[in-house]
Each structure stands twice: as C-alpha cells, then as structure tokens.
C-alpha cells in the first residue's frame, strides 16, 4: 500500500480517523481537545464524507454532559458515534460513559489528556483526567505520539466494534495533541480493510427501533442487579485479544506494528521503566542511548491500559528484569500508589513473579520530561533500595520524594537541526513555523517536529516555538535545550527572558531589531552580550517590522522571519525554500485574494536583502544589565516566587516555595511591568473636560484620574500635570485648598488599545483631530510617565464616603482589578473593573472558568488587588459549570456568619453595650457612609471584645467583620451563563438569594477560540456556525424576568455608560438575585477593538442589543418593573453588522444567506422590542388595603 506523508498535530491525526468512521459527532469545546471537534466541523461543513460516503453530522452541545447524553442516544438508535474531550469535560461525561459501557455499546471517544483542576486549574497535559474514567468500564488505549494518535485511533474504532465494549483512546494534551509532526497517513483503503462490515451490521441490529422494540435502561432490584452486572464479564475477558488482533491486522496493512505492551531496549535488561503516553518517546530515546553505552535497560510502553492484561504485561517484561520503575503521569493523594503502579504490583503479585517494583510520578501539567530525568530513574533502579513513590522533574524539598537529575545530560543528535524562536502572539511566528515544518516535512521529505509554548496572557503574549528537523522520525518529546538557531522576533523580550539560554555553542542568533548591523550588539543587555561572546554565537539582524511595514503587512512579520530562518538554517537550498515559502503563502492566503499574497511576496523578496550579519566585538561594551524582574519594594513572596515565574524560570522553584492549598496573595499584576504598548495616551489638560470616560473604559485600569490635594504636590515630579478641578461636588481638599485634577497613564501597563482616545469626547476646537488624550509614540514619553505614575500611585484616593453616585465620581474610586492579561481593548474588563471600584472592598467573587478566570486568575500574576486598608475582592474559581451554585454557597456562608455574629452580639449585649449592639444590628448599610459607619462600629466592638472574657466573645471577635455588609458577585461569560451553567444559574435565581450575577456576554466562547454559544446572535459566523447562526440569541434576561423576583439589566457600557453604572448599583442594592447581562466586544468579533464602543452604540441604536432594567421593587409602587433604557431603533441592524468580521464573513461567503440573516436579525430585534414594550407597559394594580 502506498504511503503518504502528512504534517499534522495529534488532534488532527486522531480526528481524521474519527471523522471518517462516524455518522454523528457530538462535542463541546475544551482545551486541548477543541481542535478535534473544530476540524470535524470544518470537514463536514466542506462536505467531506465518512468512509461510507455520508457527511458526519456535527452537533455542539451545551456541555460535555450534554454531548455525552447525545452520544448515548445516537448510539442507542444505531449511529456510529464519536466525541472528543478532555479534563473536566471527561468528568462530566462519566455518568453516561458508565451507561454506554454497561450496555456494551461499541463507541470510541478521543481524549487529549489534561490535568484535572485541584489546587489550581491547568489546561496542560497529564493523565489525571483519564484515570478518573478507569471505573467506567471503558477500554482505554493510549497513544504516545502523533503517528500513534492516528494509528491507535483506528485500532480503537476497530476493536470497539468487535468487542462491543466502548473505547477511550487518549494521548497527552499539548505534547501530542498540539505537536506538529510528519507522519505516515492512514488511507481510506486501510481503514476500510480494518473495520469489519459485519461488526457494524451487528451494531445496527442492536439499535432501538419500534420495528423490533426492546427496552434498555431498566431499574433492577437486589434480586438481579448483581448477576446481571456480572453478565458482561466474558466481553471484557475478550478485549485484549480483539485489540491485539486489530493491531496485527493494522500492521499487515500499514507495516506499523503495535502490541498491548510494547517493549523497547535490551532483551536482557535488568532495569525496566513502565509508562504510557508521550513520555514513552523520551524513554525510548534514552534507552537506546543507554543500551549503546552497554547498560542493560529497557522500557515497557503501555498501550492497552484497560482492561489491564497481567499476562500480556508480564510477557513484555524480560525475564532478566530485576527492578521496575512504574511512572504515572497523575497523582492520587492517599492511594497506596498511582494507578499504573498498582496495576503492575497487582499483576506481579497475582502471577507470583517476584520483582522489585517502585512507582514514581512525573510530568504533571505538561512538566518537562527529558532524557536526563529518564536516566535518573534508571540510575535510581541501580540502587539496592531504590526510592519508592518518588517524583521526577521537580525539586521536592519538603517531603524529599524527588529524584535529582543531571541537567547537563542530553541526547540531541548532531544531524538534527534545532531552532527556538521567541515571538509575540500577534506577529505570526507560530503560524509561519507551522508552515515551515510543513514545508520541510512534506515537500522535502524530511522529518520535522514543532512544539509551541504560549504564555497565558491574552495581550502581548509570548510564544516560543521549538522546531526539530532531521533525517529520521523524531521522538524527542521535550523542549529544545540546545538549538543551532535561536531567533528573537521582538527585541524587548531580551530584557525579560533568557532567550539565549537554549543557544548551543556556535549557534546563530537572529534578532528582529531596528538597530543597524554595526550597532545592534551595543543595544543588547549585558547578559545577552556575555552569552553571545561566551557561546561564540553568530549574530544576525533584520528590521523585520520595517520590511513588513514597507510591504504593507503592518506588524505581521511571519514570512519575513521565515525567510531568515531558511537562510540561516540552510536546511534547504535557498531558491527551493523561497519557492516553498511562496507556495505556502499562496496556499494560506490565496483565499483572501491576490493582495495579501502580493504583499507577502514583496516581504519575502525584501527579507533576504535586509538580513545582515551583525558585528560582534571581542568584549563587552559596557551595556546595562537587565533590570531586575520586579523592583526591590515588591513583597518577599513576589520577589522569591512570582518573579522567578515571571522570568520563565518557574520550573526551578522547589515545592517549599508554594502555598500548600492553592491560596495566593492578590494584587500581583502591579509587579509585572510588561511594557507592551507602542503608543500610549497623552493628556492635554487644556482641552480635558474631566468626564473620566477614559478611565472608565480602560480595560487594564492603566489610565486613571484622581483628585489631588495641592498640598501633596510638593514632591511631584516636574513633569506631573494637574489642572483645577472643575466640579464643586467634592468640596475642598483636606488642606482646604481647592482640589486639583490629575489624569495619569501607567505607561508599562497600558496595552495601547486606543479605547480611551476613542471615547474621549473633548476635541480641540481649532483642530478637532486633537483630543484631550491622543495616542502618541511611547518612547519619548516613557521615562517621564513612569516617574509620574509612581508619584500618582502614591497619592491618596478620595474618601469613598465623599464619592457621589454618578459616573464621573465613580472613577475617583480605586480600581481593585488592574493590569490584567486580558486582550488589548477587551470589552469585558471595564465592567469588572467598575464593579471592583464600586463594591470591591466588601466583595466576594465566584468566577466561572473562561476568559475571566484566565486573565483574572492565571499565574504568575493576578489582577484582583486590595486597597490601602488591606481590603479587596476575595476571588475563587470553582468550575465552568457550577459557578452560580458556587457563588450561592458563598452567599449562604456569608449569611450564616452574619446571623451567628448577630446572635452572639445579642447574647453579649450587656458586656458590649446595648446602644452599640442596637446600632450594629439596625445599621443601614445602603451607601458608603452607612458601610463606613458600620466598620467604625465593628472596630469599637472588637475593642470591647478584646477585653471581654468567655468563649462567645472570642467567637464574636473572629466573626465581627461579618456584620459589615458583603457583596457576592457571580461572574462569568456567556458560555457559562447561557450554556453549561444555565441550569445552575436558573436555580440560583429561583432561590431568591441575594447574589449579583454579572454575565460578560461576548456572544461566543472566547477563551476556547470562538465556538458558537446560545448567546451568538443571528448572522454571526462562529465555529460550529460557520455559515452564520440562523437561530436567534437566547433571551436570558427575559427568562430571568419571568420569575418576577429577579433584578435584570441588559447593559452596554460603550453605548450608555451611565445606564451601566445605574444598573450595577441597583443590582447590588437589590436584596435578591440580580442578573446583569453586559455586552462585551471581543476580538472574536473580527474588528479593531479600538472601535468597540462605537459598535456597542450601533448595537443598541439598531436594536440588536436591548438596553433595559427590570427592577422587582417597582412592582410595589405600582410601576412597571421593566424600563427600556434605549429608544426605538434609530438605525438598521445592517449598519451594525457590516462592521464586524463575524457577520461580514457570512456575506463574503454567501451574500444571499447574509441578506436573509440580516433581515432575520432585524425581524428578531423588532419582535423582541415589541415584547419588551408591552412588558414595560404592564402595571400590576394593587388592591388598596382597607383603612
């Protein structure tokens, strides 16, 4: 059979098999499995058929639980079905999986194995999720590489049909799911030859049909359940045989042979490692190396993990073996050992084979697993008493379980070209590197591998590409540590990262810089210069941004840098490489039309001419060293732990550095000065009208306004600007002098989005292009603004009690959410920041998983912070699906403690003083003054309690703060509120509990990459709605209103900020559930975020986004609870839709459908408006009580 090579990642490899063998695919997005569903959707959307000529039906569900239910139903009714998932998603599928297995249903699911959230969430890879599926009754087959992800997917689908037991096929998240590699593709003929038609027929015969009715899913009693449960045993006994048979058939068809347990290494090995997953590849390499050095070692690679076949396993372990180390990529606290270890121990015990077996953990959350670590494990096995239950890959300096390893040991062969490239997320580095791998792997018939590391910021994100090219298949499943090419596509990264750490001696160092070849070295930080000299690096420079700009590609330097890579690597003859690059450009962008291709070609042509070898002097030239990662005034924890993580050296931190329970200090983004803006707002006080709209809209709290007591200006830097405060509402400053007003940008925290300038209403009368703030190149401003910001941040905030309820005044409150890693121009964070300003000092936050939890809680630094009194939002993330319930729990706890405190207070009345007790119990805490007064009373109470004897006083002392009103906020996106968390959200609203629910509605799953949600509006293209969504957006607000006791508001800050503020205040003051649905523009909408507010306004003006407040309190006064805050539409939906890529791409693809959807959107909006208008006219007449 002819072989065909493809360059794909593990997800694509597995999905290509699953799609061809399925009729129904029900999915829900979750990292890192999402691409499998997305690719399937794309293939089906493009009419790609399965093996039997039918286009698989793809259905996106509201959660993985929903997907599993749909899968179960599809299987019952006789459709070949698959699904893809990971981590928490797999957990949600477990109940259905038990059913599917219990009913002996052929089915194969594919899992990109990922950590389960415990002390923290992690999107990265380990086996803790699939281990949770062990008791489901699924067979489990594990792939270790991209090639295997394809091959064993096929084996799984084949075996399940034969065995009738469902299969969970898994491979390591990211390391395999996202590694791009050249593999031998599996053709349709081979698949067809594998799958038994008779097995499919047998499956179909068992389907539910009224033509031959049966009943499944009965309830059984003690008399029969047990026996009936045991009736499946023979099917499980037969599985290993079916799998091995499928593997053998596969080998005949493809030449690639697998066994249930594959052994590699010396046939007479004495020391053997057992493991499964991508780590096996690193073990394989190390074993080969050690064997060559005469060491008697080997490894057993586990393929079929469940059912675990002890005989087959033992048969794979050489009879010469004396000691085994079983490596688990998971942790089960409290267990006698991790699962694979326990299986091995049990197998040997049952077989009576006396071998020394130790267990160890490695690679949790994609922790690196290198040949050096593998060697350390083999070395440990040499000992008489090797350590058991060890860890490898970390330094456990607390319980001393970790093994040490030799960092210097490495196995990179000489004939493999290795490159490491640092880029910014938005510059196209990863895309072009993927292209490069395809060029080399596919077109030049060489083996290639690419793996990409991203940081967790959504703006100014750093990407690190690790590439390998060589003559043989590449098994190195770990990062490149010694590269012959190191490229830095963004020079400022040299200030923050040890870019040249991975440069091998004599390597080429390519830098994208505007400095000339003879000067560039002088501008390198001292440490970098030293590395260039010490490692005798050849130094090359190109002004990539200039080349790209001149070619009309803005900052998209990908093709420019790609050309440079090929030139420096010499991996292909240059002419051939250029031809491939051009071909790649045509393939990637040709669909956009000739212009993009033309400009890229121009950039390619200019790149070579602009690539120069830079002059390297023989010694250092006195350049400055890198600035410290955090300033010395940062807290100790930040210095020791956070800074290390920020510098990209978190791997070096020992166990003792960490909190034991996942509890971290807040307010750490202030120490991470990322300096990613090229332009920042520049203030012209002569024009400013002090409206504070800029501060309100800033997604990063990087532009702030403050009232300044002139007295405190004595030590102000000369460049610090203030102006007279124009309003009278704050009276005089503490010194008695009239207030000054200051507007200040944090130059290193601003992301340069331009939203502030866009909303600024104050224009120069003579030159209206000039506003009170204009975006301006940062370089000339940076130093002065740094000093100004430092001074500004030391100024006291005005008293909260003095701050009026209006919008302008709200911006004199300290933001307690700042400098997050959210996208530049994010539409969500301005709402969160405003909430933090209004209620942050007494706020608990339950945060659903999603964008908000990533920019809100992803280390190294987090944006929720505290004020100078030490108060601020207390934040926690539970899950994606349970957030409303999580927040409700917080509310219940708050109330329980408040009630306990009140009851204790009453009991202690005599010793505390009746007047104080009365005041504390009856305090009105409806405004800032009331809260402040209560806080004062609590201080007084505590003073009294300190001197009071008895256990109750002690208890009350601990609980006294509960007497101050708390504000519970439940925050999440539309994926949570409309889809996966809706059931809980609905229930929480129905409880009547006093919680505030803020839904940041981007109308799409933003965090996982733009999948459609039930909030996606008509006409928008999204993943799983590529042709444009035809069904109207779910009216979450109307559903909530139907309860009658829920405060509901629909807001759009960019359209009417005062309404947002009013809604937030009303919602918080409402003593029951409040729901605020906030329009949030998002990069997933496909336009410049700078124009986010204009689009919000158009959304409201066209009626596409309704703006209203529904306040149940108004019922009591005989008013209609619903108030519409937007007039009838002034403009057409079309005017709104035409500006956004998500709608526009529908029009470009299918103009007729676009027109239909525009009309449908207009009709939908009009109908909704009509309903609201009627509701807004509903007055409930109350019967007057007889006097």
């Amino acid at each position: 059979m002819s072989s065909r090579y493809v360059t794909v990642d593990g997800n694509e490899a597995a999905a290509s098999v699953a799609h061809r063998l399925s009729e129904v695919i029900a999915i829900y997005p979750i990292t890192p499995a999402s691409p499998m569903g997305e690719l399937s959707d794309e293939w089906s959307a493009n009419g790609k058929a399965n093996l039997w000529g039918q286009v698989p039906r793809i259905i996106e569900m509201q959660s993985e639980a929903g997907a599993a239910g749909a899968v179960h139903g599809a299987l019952q009714a006789g459709a070949l079905t698959t699904t893809f998932t990971s981590s928490q998603g797999l957990l949600l599928m477990l109940p259905d999986m038990l059913k599917v297995a219990g009913e002996l249903t052929p089915f194969c699911m594919h899992v990109a194995a990922r950590s389960i959230a415990t002390h923290a969430l992690s999107i990265f890879g380990d086996h803790s999720d699939v281990m949770m599926a062990r008791p489901t009754g699924f067979a489990m087959l594990c792939s270790s590489s991209v090639q295997e992800a394809q091959d064993l997917a096929a084996v799984s689908h084949t075996a399940t049909l034969k065995a009738r037991v469902p299969f969970l096929h898994f491979f390591d998240g990211f390391r395999t799911s996202h590694e791009v590699s050249r593999i031998e593709a599996l053709g349709d003929e081979a698949l067809r030859a594998l799958i038994g038609d008779e097995d499919i027929a047998a499956f179909r015969d068992r389907k539910l049909t009224p033509d031959a009715p049966v009943i499944r899913g009965t309830a059984q009693n003690p008399d029969v359940f047990f026996q009936a449960r045991e009736a499946c045993n023979s099917f499980y006994d037969a599985i290993p045989g079916h799998v091995q048979a499928a593997m053998e058939r596969f080998a005949k068809l493809t030449g690639r042979a697998y066994r249930l347990f594959d052994y590699v290494g010396d046939p007479n090995a004495e020391r053997v490692v057992v493991l499964m997953g991508s780590g096996a590849e690193a073990v394989r390499e190390t074993v080969a190396h050690l064997n060559a050095a005469g060491e008697k070692v080997g490894a057993v690679i586990v393929r079929l993990f469940r059912p675990f076949d002890p005989q087959a396993f033992s048969g794979a372990v050489p009879s010469s073996a004396k000691a085994l180390a079983v490596l688990d990529r998971t942790k089960e606290p409290g267990a006698p050992g991790e699962p694979l270890y326990q299986d091995v121990v049990t197998a040997f015990a049952e077989l009576g084979r006396p071998l020394r077996v130790v267990g160890g953990r490695y690679g949790l959350s994609s922790k690196e697993f290198t040949p050096a670590m593998v060697k350390a494990v083999f070395d440990e096995l040499k000992k008489d008493q090797p350590k058991n239950h060890f860890t490898i890959g970390i330094n456990d300096d607390v319980t001393r379980r970790s093994l040490a390893w030799d960092e210097a040991f490495e196995l990179e062969p000489k004939d493999v070209t290795r490159a490491v490239m640092y880029g910014l997320g938005s510059d196209g580095t990863v895309s072009s590197n993927k292209q490069t791998i395809k060029i080399i792997g596919q077109e030049a018939e060489r083996c290639a591998q690419g793996y990409f590391v991203y940081d967790s910021k959504k703006s100014g994100a750093i990407t690190i590409s690790h590439l390998r090219f060589g003559p043989r298949p590449i098994h190195s499943t770990y990062l490149v540590r010694s590269a012959s090419i190191v490229a830095c596509h963004y020079a400022p990264l040299l200030e923050r990262h040890d870019v040249l750490e991975s440069a091998a001696p004599g390597a080429s160092f390519l830098l994208n810089t505007h400095h000339a070849p003879d000067k560039a070295f002088d501008y390198l930080p001292r440490e970098v210069q030293q590395q260039v000299l010490d490692k005798r690096l050849r130094f090359f420079v190109i002004d990539g941004f200039k080349v790209a700009r001149e070619a009309g590609l803005e900052r998209y330097i990908s093709t420019v840098m790609q050309v440079c890579f090929f030139k420096l690597s010499g991996v292909l003859p240059m002419e051939e490489a250029l031809e491939h690059i051009r071909h790649g450009v045509e393939k990637a962008y040709g669909k956009r039309g000739s212009e993009v291709v033309k400009r890229n070609f121009a950039a390619i042509d200019a790149a070579l001419a602009n690539l120069h070898e830079a002059k390297v002097p023989s010694k250092l030239n006195g350049a400055l060293p890198r600035p410290p990662v955090v300033p010395k005034e940062a807290p100790d924890f930040v210095q020791r732990v956070t800074a290390t993580m920020m510098a990209g050296k978190g791997d070096l931190l020992p166990v003792s550095a960490f909190p034991v329970d996942g509890t971290w200090p807040t307010g750490t983004t202030q120490w991470e000065k990322r300096a990613i803006a090229l332009e920042i707002p520049k203030w012209d006080s002569a024009i400013c009208i002090q409206c504070n709209k800029c501060a309100l809209i800033c997604p990063h709290a990087a532009i702030r306004t403050q009232l300044v007591d002139p007295k405190s200006l004595g030590e102000a830097p000369k460049s610090f600007v203030t102006m007279d405060f124009k309003a009278k509402d704050f009276g005089a400053s503490p010194s008695g002098a009239p207030w000054k007003y200051s507007l200040q940008v944090a130059p290193d925290d601003c992301t340069g989005c331009g939203l502030c300038v866009n909303v600024c209403p104050a224009r120069d009368k003579v030159n209206p292009r000039h506003k009170a703030i204009d975006m301006s190149a940062i370089e000339p401003l940076r130093d002065a603004e740094r000093t100004n910001w430092k001074f500004f941040s030391g100024l006291p905030y005005v008293e909260r009690t003095a701050v009026a309820a209006d919008l302008k005044a709200s911006q004199f409150l300290e933001p307690l959410f700042e400098f997050s890693g959210a996208c530049s121009g994010c539409g969500e964070t301005p709402y969160i920041k405003l909430v933090s300003q209004l209620f942050g000092d007494r706020m608990l936050v339950a945060n659903a998983t999603g964008c908000t939890s990533i920019y809100g809680g992803n280390l190294p630094t987090t944006p929720w912070t505290k004020n100078r009194d030490g108060r601020g939002p207390a934040w926690a993330n539970s899950l994606f699906e349970d957030n409303a319930e999580f927040g409700l729990g917080m509310r219940l706890a708050v109330e329980a403690q408040e009630q306990l405190a009140q009851s204790l207070l009453k009991q202690l009345g005599s010793s505390v003083g009746d007047a104080l007790v009365k005041a504390l119990l009856e305090a009105s805490q409806g405004d800032e003054a009331g809260i402040a007064a209560q806080r004062d009373r609590v201080v007084e109470l505590k003073k009294k309690l300190v001197g009071t004897a008895g256990p109750d006083a002690k208890k009350l002392l601990q609980l006294a703060d509960a007497l101050v009103k708390k504000s519970v906020w439940i925050i999440g996106g539309d994926g949570w509120a409309y889809d996966i968390g809706y059931g809980g959200l609905d229930h929480v609203m129905a409880t009547g509990a006093n919680v505030n629910i803020l839904v940041l509605d981007t109308e799409v799953y933003s965090n996982t990459g733009g999948q459609a949600s039930k909030a996606t509006p008509i006409g928008a293209a999204a993943k799983f709605a590529a042709a444009g969504k035809a069904i109207g957006k779910k009216d979450l607000g109307l559903l909530a209103m139907s309860y009658g006791n829920v405060y509901v508001a629909s807001v759009a800050m960019g359209a009417k900020d005062a309404q947002t503020l009013k809604a937030l205040r009303e919602a918080e003051s409402y003593p029951g559930p409040s729901l605020i649905i906030a329009y949030s523009h998002c990069i997933a909408h496909g336009y410049d975020m700078e124009r986010g507010c204009e689009q919000q306004k158009l959304a409201v003006d066209s009626g596409v986004w309704p703006m209203y407040r529904f306040d149940p309190r108004r019922i009591a006064t005989g008013e209609a609870p619903l108030q519409l805050d937007a007039p009838p539409p002034k403009t057409k939906a079309r005017d709104y839709m035409k500006n956004e890529g998500r709608f526009r791409m529908v029009g470009l693809r299918d103009p007729k459908r676009y027109e239909e959807l525009v009309a449908a959107q207009e009709e939908f909006a009009a109908r909704r408006r009509a309903v609201y208008e009627q509701l807004a006219a509903v007055h409930v007449t109350r019967e007057k009580k007889e006097a």
């Binding site: 890192p32 493009n46 938005s426 895309s431 993927k434 962008y589 212009e595 990533i854 965090n1007 496909g1086």
Partner: protein, 332 residues
C-alpha cells in the same frame, strides 16, 4: 411608424438610449430581470473597486488571519474559511448570472486608481461574459506634490493596460475635475476609448457640526446636476468623435432629451431608478418616443448633438459668457 430610437454605445447597438448606470441594482438578479422587462437597453454593472478589494482582503487578513496561533487555548477565533472569496469572484459570478438571465448587453465596470496588477480583472470581466467595459477613473488628488499631468498620464496608462488586457470595447467614466477636460478627453480618444461617460458622481462627505465628525450619507442625484453635464456634453461632442453618455441628473423625459441634444448617445439612470423603480425607464423611453414623434424627428440620431457647441443656435452660451449673461438678464 414611430421614430428610430436605436443608438450605439460602447460599440453596442442598443434599441434606445435609456439604460441604468452603474449601481447596486445589479446585485439582485430579480431586479436585473425587472430592468430588462422595463425596457432597459443594456445593463451596467456597479464597479469592481480596486480600493475595496484591497481593503477587504487586508482587513480580513488583519482581523481573521492575524488572530491565529497566539494562545494555547485558541488556535484562532473564527471558523476555517476555505471558501470565502475576497477577490473578484463574486462579482464575476454575478456577471455570468446576469448574462444568463437577460438578453440585453451587459457592461462591466472597473474602478481603480493605480496602474497595478488589478487591471488583469478587465480580462476576467471579459471572460465572465461582459460585452463591454466601463472604466471608472476615480482620482481624488490630495497630495500637492502630484502634478495634474502626472495624474493624467497615469490614467492614460491605465486605459492602455486595460485595453491591452481585454478585447471588448472600453469606455471611461470621468470626473468633471480636469483643467482641460477636452484635452484629456482627446487623449483618451487617441488611446482608443470607445465612449466617455459624463460624469462620475464622487462620494461627498458631509460635516456634522455637533459631533465634529464627517458624516457618510449617500446623496442621490437631483436635476440640478444635469446642467454641468449638458455643458460638457455639448463641448466634447462638438470636438470629439467618441460617443458620450450622460450620467447624473436625469429624472424626466425632458432631461434625457436635453442630454441627447447636448451630445449624449446614451443616457444613464441611477438615482431615479433607486427612488422610483425600473418602470421609470419605460416611461422615459416612451416619453422620448412620443416627443420625437410629436416633433416629427425620424430618429435619435437627428437629436444627438443637435444643441452642442457646434450646432446650437447660440454656441457662446456654453462658454464663459453664460454666467455673465444670466446676471445681465437678471438686472434688466
């Protein structure tokens, strides 16, 4: 027997001189059929805009392609878009569909400002089935470094390249803003242009004093715009042989009649059709026929140019004196 209404425009023999000018009406195939049913003698496509194509492609590149591979969780934010066209495909497809839907000739239209590779689109338009091509020379010079002559030379080059790319007749739609329109028109004639359309109605932004912003409102034409066209039709038809068409300001039969008298061989309608529908073609054509019959003209040919600079009883009226005389008349 009625008068002969036939005319020749861009080398095409047309039943009569009234037809729609370049407009979005052609986007809707049903509307195109209605235009034919109403008697339109040919269809003019709206322009394929170089500027728009480029902007559209680069916007998609910037907002869709550039947002990929920057995050561990999201490889991109949009569905894969294998088959969405930002090139001229949709436009060309529409020409093909119109050709299939109607029997009257179809004139393609191409708009660009620089002599670049986009001129190849002329060939694609021809291949899609257009009978002729209207080239829209849209230039809005704002750069003081740019000399009038250089702009004109560039435009002549564009025409030359388009003519080299396509074999179908090529007309040029002009703006009124040339220092010497007759000279430039003659240069175009020398390059072999098959017709000139007077005039392009340039997009004109308005100012919103409240918001200090430019407002983008599409103003439809009104009859006041006709006079400018009449003058230049009269002048150019007297000096050149190339056929002319009037575009802008024609809303009634009488307007069409005047345009023909001033020298137009064809009369384009857009605003009138957008406002009052395709039936206006029927009414204006029939009105024209009736007028010719009533005034005992045999054909439109007799009419075309009968009131131009050369043949009108008082030709000086078209020249500068017109304004002066009007004022004198007022004072009198």
């Amino acid at each position: 027997m009625g008068a002969d209404l036939s005319t020749t425009w861009l080398g095409l023999k047309l039943e009569h001189p009234i037809f729609p000018g370049a407009s979005p009406l052609v986007d809707d195939l049903d509307m195109v059929r209605r235009l034919e049913d109403a008697g339109a003698s040919c269809i003019t496509m709206h322009s394929l805009f170089e500027e728009q194509l480029v902007a559209e492609q680069m916007a998609a590149h910037r907002h869709l392609d550039a947002w990929t591979e920057l995050n561990a969780e999201a490889q991109g934010w949009f569905p894969a878009t294998a088959d969405f066209a930002l090139g001229p495909d949709t436009y060309l497809e529409q020409i093909r569909k119109i050709r299939e839907a109607v029997r009257i000739p179809v004139v393609g239209s191409l708009n660009g400002t620089t002599p670049g590779g986009w001129l190849e689109y002329a060939k694609l338009i021809e291949q899609a089935g257009a009978h002729a091509l209207e080239l829209n020379l849209y230039a809005l010079p704002s750069d003081p470094q740019q000399a009038a002559q250089a702009i004109e030379q560039e435009q002549l080059l564009i025409l030359r390249k388009v003519k080299a790319a396509a074999k179908i007749p090529v007309g040029v739609k002009l703006s009124p803003f040339y220092s010497s329109l007759p000279h430039f028109a003659r240069s175009l004639e020398a390059e072999g242009v098959s017709g000139l359309v007077l005039f392009n109605r340039l997009y004109q932004p308005d100012i919103d004093p409240e918001s200090l912003a430019l407002s983008r409102v599409l103003h439809l034409s009104d009859p006041s715009e006709l006079l400018l066209r009449l003058r230049w039709l009269a002048i150019l038809s007297a000096r050149l042989k190339v056929p002319l068409a009037c575009s802008g300001g024609v809303h009634e039969t009488e307007h069409a009649l005047k345009a023909l008298m001033a020298g137009a061989s064809g009369v384009q309608l857009v605003s009138e059709l957008l406002k009052n529908g395709p039936r206006r073609i029927t009414l204006i054509r029939d009105g024209l026929r009736m007028w010719l019959d009533e005034h005992e003209y045999d054909s439109v040919h007799q009419l075309v140019g009968s009131m131009n600079l050369e043949r009108s009883p008082d030709p000086s009226g078209y020249e500068r004196a017109n304004y002066v005389k009007l004022l004198q008349g007022y004072h009198r």
